[in-house]
Amino acid sequence: MLLVVEQFLNGLQFGLLLFLLAAGLTLVFGIMDLVNLAHGSLYMMGAYFAATFVAWSGNFIVGIVLALGATLLLGIVLEVVALRHLYGRDHLDHVLATFGLILFFNDLVRLIWGPAGLALPLPAWLTVPVQIVPGVFYPAYRLAIIAVALAVALMLYLVVMRTRIGMLIRAGASNREMIGALGINIKLLYTLVFGLGAALAGLAGLMQAPILTVQIGMGENILILAFVIIVIGGIGSIRGAFVAAILVGMIDTLGRAFLPDLLRRVLSSAAASTAAPALSSMLIYLLMAIVLVARPEGLFPANRR
Amino acid sequence: MAEPLLRIENLVRRFGGIVATDNLSLDIARGELHAIIGPNGAGKTTLISQLIGQLRPSAGTIRFAGEDITHLPAWKRSQRGLARSFQITSLLPDFTAADNVAIAAQARDGHSFRFFANARKETALRDAAHAALKRVGLGERADTLVSKLSHGEQRELELAVALATKPQLLLLDEPMAGLGSTESARMVKLLADLRQEVTIVLVEHDMNAVFALADRITVLVYGRVIASDVPAAIRLNEEVRRAYLGDQHVVTRHG
């Protein structure tokens, strides 16, 4: 029972983290129609920046904030220098170009930080287990992730739904040409949106950093999940990304935790231990396949023009 | 009256709160040339889309040659003899005019799971293609890429492609759109020729063409049929004049 609660919270935490990553991706895709494979690289850079700045400043919070700023800046530079030239082109061109960027960033990181990964140790006050329910303890840091991610999700919701900028974003998602005709500075809007996406990716990366090692290629593994999420949720829909991310986070975590036991009841122990890890990894892809077969546009397709 | 080739019964199509097709019923007799006219927004294109299977009706039935085709996918309707031309030209741009027609002839022939023989060298298909092209006046342009054809030639090619599938019913969505006066006249003559072989449903704005060609005219306003009769009667119909033709003058072609 305790295990279920713990795994449930882990699933929630993982799902929220995935949401941060997926939200940026779906925003960029929905508004600029840009397929950005290098989104995972921004996630990686967020983690590397965090590890570096925390070590350099000696203070966890300061390091985190600096890392976030650095990733935001990197995102903006990337958009202005390279990615804005891809708007309006074939998705295949996006895939190819951003694939090139992945290669570039992976080697850049190797050049600057070396091939071995980095570690980001947590300050003492975040390693304390917190008693959330009598008898049930959960690591403070993971609770912090949940709290921060939910706060960001709320902020995102408020910005997109309640502010003028948000209105422009939503309008841009449904009719690109029109907001251009309204005299809004499209270039600036797009740069800001991309920067926001980059910051979200960086945030996800740096939050995940203390839990997993910071290493080259960490972006690719999680990028796939982010794409699966936005496909399930519906491209361009933040609400869809949220629902899908939680779903994916839960299924993946609970699957990995409980599937081996479940299988062991049905199959022999040897068969179960070979099948379990493969099957757990596959669950999310299975989910996506099912959703795509049943509803090819995703669960919450955003209104396109 | 003999069994109509196309029978539309109580067709309804809603888009959210808007009723684009409002309980529409219409019969198209075999062998006639039936024109559908109406002001912009009357729901002509929505109707055509439902007839060819691109859009699902919210309610109602469509019967073609006695068979209920309301839920049949577009490609199956084509195989049953329902051909269409597009309002906005829709051809295979990377292929030549002859290729476009030959593929349509190939569709008619069935047997497209052949993997080795060079399809462009099949004399039967190529001859059929050239014949159709000559018919519409594009004989000289057979080997030209579609992207290099003029707009008028593309409209004619659309017709040739539709004909190559040897249809029973031809649904033409504004074939005159964007044509100059000589080209229009040529198209009218072509359609007059074709009506003897195939039933035609013609959606058009060009009133000269409509009144010159149609056996019957149906007038659509706000998704409903307000009149369906011979051209002479339509010309005199008060409601039609008010809604569409205007009391003072007859609207001629656009552009």
């Binding site: 390279a82 082109r89 998705h91 295949l92 061109d93 895939v95 190819l96 170009a97 694939f99 090139g100 290669l103 570039f104 960033f105 080697d107 850049l108 190797r110 796939i224 794409f227 699966v228 496909v231 491209i235 070979t274 890890p277 493969a278 099957l279 990894s281 596959m282 892809y285 299975l286 996506m288 396949a289 795509l292 077969v293 546009e297 995703g298 | 691109q54 996918p73 490609w75 199956k76 084509s78 051909a83 597009f86 829709s90 051809l91 295979l92 741009p93 990377d94 292929f95 290729d99 349509a104 190939q106 569709a107 497209s112 799971f113 993997f115 080795f116 023989a117 060079n118 492609v161 190559a164």
Partner: protein, 315 residues
Amino acid sequence: MTSSLNARNVVAAAVVAGLLLLPLFSYLTSNVFVLTLFTRIVIFALAAVSLNLIMGYGGMMSFGHAAYLGIGGYAVGILAAEGIGSGFVQWPVALLVSALFALVIGALSLRTRGVYFIMITLAFAQMAYYVASGLSRYGGDDGLTIYKRSTFGGLINLSNRVQFYYLCLACLLGGIYLVWRIVNSRFGLVVQGLRSNELRMQAIGFPATRYRLVCFVIAGTMCGLAGALLANNTDFISPAVMYWTRSGDLMVMVILGGMGSLFGPVVGAIVYLVLEEFLSQVTEYWAMIMGPLLLLIVLFGRGGILGLLGRFSRG
């Protein structure tokens, strides 16, 4: 037809001639490395040719094509590990299994279009990757060593570098020939037409999914053959072959060479792999050059290398 078309034909002829004479060159310069390099290139060229069939001619952007390299390779590897070393059994099994997977994956994926199609093919390739990683009996993550190459009853010795190279080349040329016949056949014209204007094709009576699926299966099977060759080439097969970035490599080769042309993928494979080899000798950080290079090619080099030599024309 025009001089630009002749330029492409010249390149194609040069490539074929070069590939045919390569072992001679290797022998004369006592450079074994170039032979092993080009064996690998030829195998990937075959995979790229198969991807070009669905991408360039069929308009289906599959981001999971490397899965078939793995499927074909594992068919050979698993049978070898179980004591079945005869190529006469291994290779047909590799083709059959690849075809079956392509059938299932295609039937599910082709219900989607555009970027959704890209993502779902990606997902299936990842699934294959994870399944292979979970095969602990056959090495799992670490991969499976193949101790003996496929035997063909004395007809050909795959351990002989030159013989193996020519076998791979024969497969490549056979693949190109097959693609050439297919794209100009009735079937091929339908598939190309569907890429050009699906709505129009449906309006004249072609059910899109059926034709695309068959095309997809053909391409998957051809890539499975490349996988069997790859397993023999490296005497080893691992899940890494199917990781999604490898599918990305294949896509790059096809786009680089020029999609929808017969020899484009071959040129693309040669350029990509030679560049990778050359750059990695120059610097350890070759990807830092390759990456932006890809970006520049996308921005300025429309139609790939062969596209630069003349307009897109039917193969």
